[in-house]
């Protein structure tokens, strides 16, 4: 496989939720790619559709969700075309996921060891080898292998999240999706976990789709960042480039929402208004009701994604 071919290539993906008031266009024509060994950050607030994309890739969205268009190409194969047997091979072996709250992802009445073994045995690994792997995995994520026999409630929040990461790595997948993995954790633990993930990446070389609302985390951690708003990607750029030269008014607004702990103390405004109703989204650009630089055309025509500079695309009428 040529090194340039993306590992994950999402093209024009659309996901809708059927609700009593009408279909909610949670993900509307989203495209982006992830190359092997890369970390792509997906940033957005509630209702942006970022979690929906994560679940859609693995096709674990529950009714009333429907995928209504697009392709999810993993190594060239479209996940949306797979049958159950192929999906079983795909899930966890090729792509696995770390959820936001470890307490939701772990079974409270099973020991950690058993949960790890369960995953491996289900995919055909022998019990003996599974035991070996379990010890190695725990070591890798930084938990004392002696704690393999603990129940989830006996571990602290940080340890639980490490256990969840270990389970995600059980089958050595080339890609991990991390859906707000540190949001529920304290800041000190968060830093620990992120450093652990970084070192795991160096060891094992997997790619990460990192989903969060905390833009400052992404700048430290990812290669590329995509900003989502109301189901669409509004800006995409390499991390440093995005941070130094943000273009889309929403990105600018987001950056204006994070006070810093060092440097000059200045007044920040955030973004006025609230995320839109996705049953009847605003016409044209979905951000225009809140945009400080809105123009007449913004309310009528949906902006097309255009390249701003090398590897930096924006969907905005200003450009």
């Amino acid at each position: 496989m040529p090194p340039d071919q993306p590992l994950l290539d999402i093209r024009n993906l659309k996901v809708e939720y059927l609700t009593p008031r009408g279909p909610v266009r949670a993900v509307d024509d989203v495209s982006f790619a992830l190359r092997p060994g890369e970390v792509v950050g997906l940033a957005g607030e509630s209702g942006s559709g970022k979690s929906t994309i994560a679940h859609a890739i693995l096709r674990i969205l529950r009714p009333p969700a429907l995928i209504t268009a697009g392709q999810v190409l993993f190594n060239g194969q479209d996940v949306l075309e797979m049958n159950m047997a192929q999906l079983e091979q795909f899930r966890w072996r090729e792509v696995s996921i770390v959820f936001q709250s470890a307490m939701n992802a772990l079974n409270p009445v099973m020991r950690i060891r058993d949960q790890l073994l369960d995953v491996m045995q289900h995919h055909g690994i022998s019990t003996a080898e599974a035991h070996q792997r379990a010890i190695r995995l725990f070591d890798l994520v930084g938990i004392d292998p002696q704690r393999l026999d603990a129940y989830p409630h006996q571990l602290s929040g940080g340890m639980r999240q490490r256990a969840v990461i270990a389970i995600a790595l059980a089958l050595d997948p080339p890609m991990l999706i991390m859906d707000e993995p540190t949001t529920a954790l304290d800041v000190v633990v968060q830093k620990d976990i992120l450093q652990q993930i970084a070192s795991l990446r160096e060891n094992l070389g997997f790619s990460i789709l990192f989903i969060t609302h905390d833009l400052s985390l992404l700048v430290e951690f990812s290669n590329h960042i995509a900003i989502m708003y109301a189901g669409e990607i509004v800006e995409k750029a390499p991390a440093r480039e995005l941070f130094d030269r943000p273009r889309h008014p929403y990105t600018l607004g987001l950056m204006n929402s994070f006070p810093s702990i060092s440097g000059e103390k200045k007044k920040l405004t955030g973004i006025p208004g609230a995320p839109p109703d996705l049953v009847i989204p605003p016409t044209g650009c979905r951000f225009h009701p809140r945009c400080p630089q809105v123009m007449p055309i913004c309310a009528e025509v949906l902006p097309v994604t255009k390249p701003f500079s090398a590897d930096h695309t924006v969907a905005c009428h200003l450009y």
Binding site: S156, E220, T269, A274
Partner: protein
């Protein structure tokens, strides 16, 4: 501005006389089991601090630090195990022992973390804001009541007020609900608002709006705030003074900028270094080198509770909990690294 928490026998000269809120040696222990009450969780231990009129004091700590319990003690939602809460110079734990008086409730209000559960889903917004006005008899007629409700909604930026007033909580966004909560707290014209992580459950782009509203109300109405958060950045943004809590103890406190720039306690240093700062990078930040987790608060061991994780721990740290010392005027810390051991021991009153 001297903010040293006082050992029992000393008095503290304050800038403007009696502080609005003066908390001394506040302690709260929870029994582990309701029946056999031998083991106790030391949720809050010997916490002392002051809040001046019109001042924003940020209380910073991670989960389990005791900050939420502290604020609930001051809101008098739970009874204290020990200590004193002086409000306008009088110890309310003695003058209003059984439960808080209506007068106290009028002057001390609270806003909560979860905008979804702090409003009662079965009643309209108007009902929520009207109740405090009715209880404290602040209006004289139905029209006056309604007018006042609309005024309050306008003040917090919820317009058109009559339309919002007739809605139910589930019809508003998280940010709007939090503004309703602020309007409700504002209704009685309080002197002190206790804010329990008011923005941590809101969308990022909406948070600044709420923080700015809090500041604006402080400036216009002279309201003091006790602002609890685990997010140092927001604490810095609106805080005049900052207090750092760890495992039930208050370990450092003082002027906000001073502590941010010059953290004395190793835990504060750890906390500051862990905050993701896009201006720095993941690898360029100083490694503080403290590992491990918060110790158990059940019948805790003597000495400083950070000692197990502290890279600079000394023998004395594991034996004696340090008392407060001034690093410089307006900045105190509880750490054996400051002031020779003997000086601390002589100040300590058993």
């Amino acid at each position: 501005m001297s903010q040293t928490p006082i050992p029992a026998t000393q008095t503290t000269p304050e800038r403007t006389g009696t502080p609005l809120l003066d908390v001394r040696h506040l302690t709260k222990h929870f029994p582990v089991s309701a029946i056999v009450r031998t083991r106790q969780v030391h949720a809050v231990e010997d916490v002392s601090f002051t809040v001046e009129s019109g001042q924003v004091v940020a209380l910073v700590g991670e989960s389990g630090s005791g900050k939420s319990t502290t604020i609930r003690l001051i809101a008098r939602l739970i009874p204290a195990t020990g200590g004193e809460i002086f409000f306008h110079g009088r110890d309310v734990l003695i003058t209003e022992q059984k439960q808080a008086s209506l007068a106290y409730r009028r002057q001390v209000q609270m806003i909560f973390q979860d905008p979804f559960s702090s409003l009662n889903a079965v009643y309209t917004i108007e009902h929520h804001i009207a109740r405090p006005l009715i209880i404290h008899k602040l209006t004289h007629s139905r029209q006056h009541l309604q007018q006042r409700v609309y005024e309050l909604l306008s003040v917090v930026g919820l317009d058109p007020a009559p339309e919002i007033a007739s809605r139910y909580p589930h019809q508003l966004s998280g940010g709007q609900r939090q503004r309703v909560a602020i309007a409700r707290a504002l209704a009685v014209d309080p002197k002190l608002i206790l804010a329990d992580e008011p923005i941590s459950m809101l969308d990022v782009s909406i948070r600044m709006g709420i923080l700015n509203l809090i500041e604006q109300l402080k400036e216009e109405h002279g309201i003091a705030y006790l602002y609890i958060t685990h997010d140092l950045a927001s604490a810095r943004y609106i805080g005049d003074k900052i207090m750092v809590m760890y495992a039930g103890h208050m370990v450092e406190g003082g002027d906000c900028e001073e502590i941010m720039g010059n953290p004395a306690h190793p835990y504060t240093q750890l906390l500051l270094s862990a905050v993701p700062d896009p201006h720095a990078g993941l690898h360029t930040q100083k490694e503080i080198g403290a590992r491990g987790e918060v110790p158990s608060l059940i019948d805790p061991l003597p000495g400083c509770l950070f000692a197990a994780r502290c890279p600079k721990a000394m023998d004395i740290c594991r034996q004696v909990m340090p008392g407060p010392t001034d690093v410089k005027p307006g900045h105190w810390v509880r750490c054996h690294l400051f002031g020779p051991g003997s000086k601390i021991l002589s100040k300590e009153v058993v």
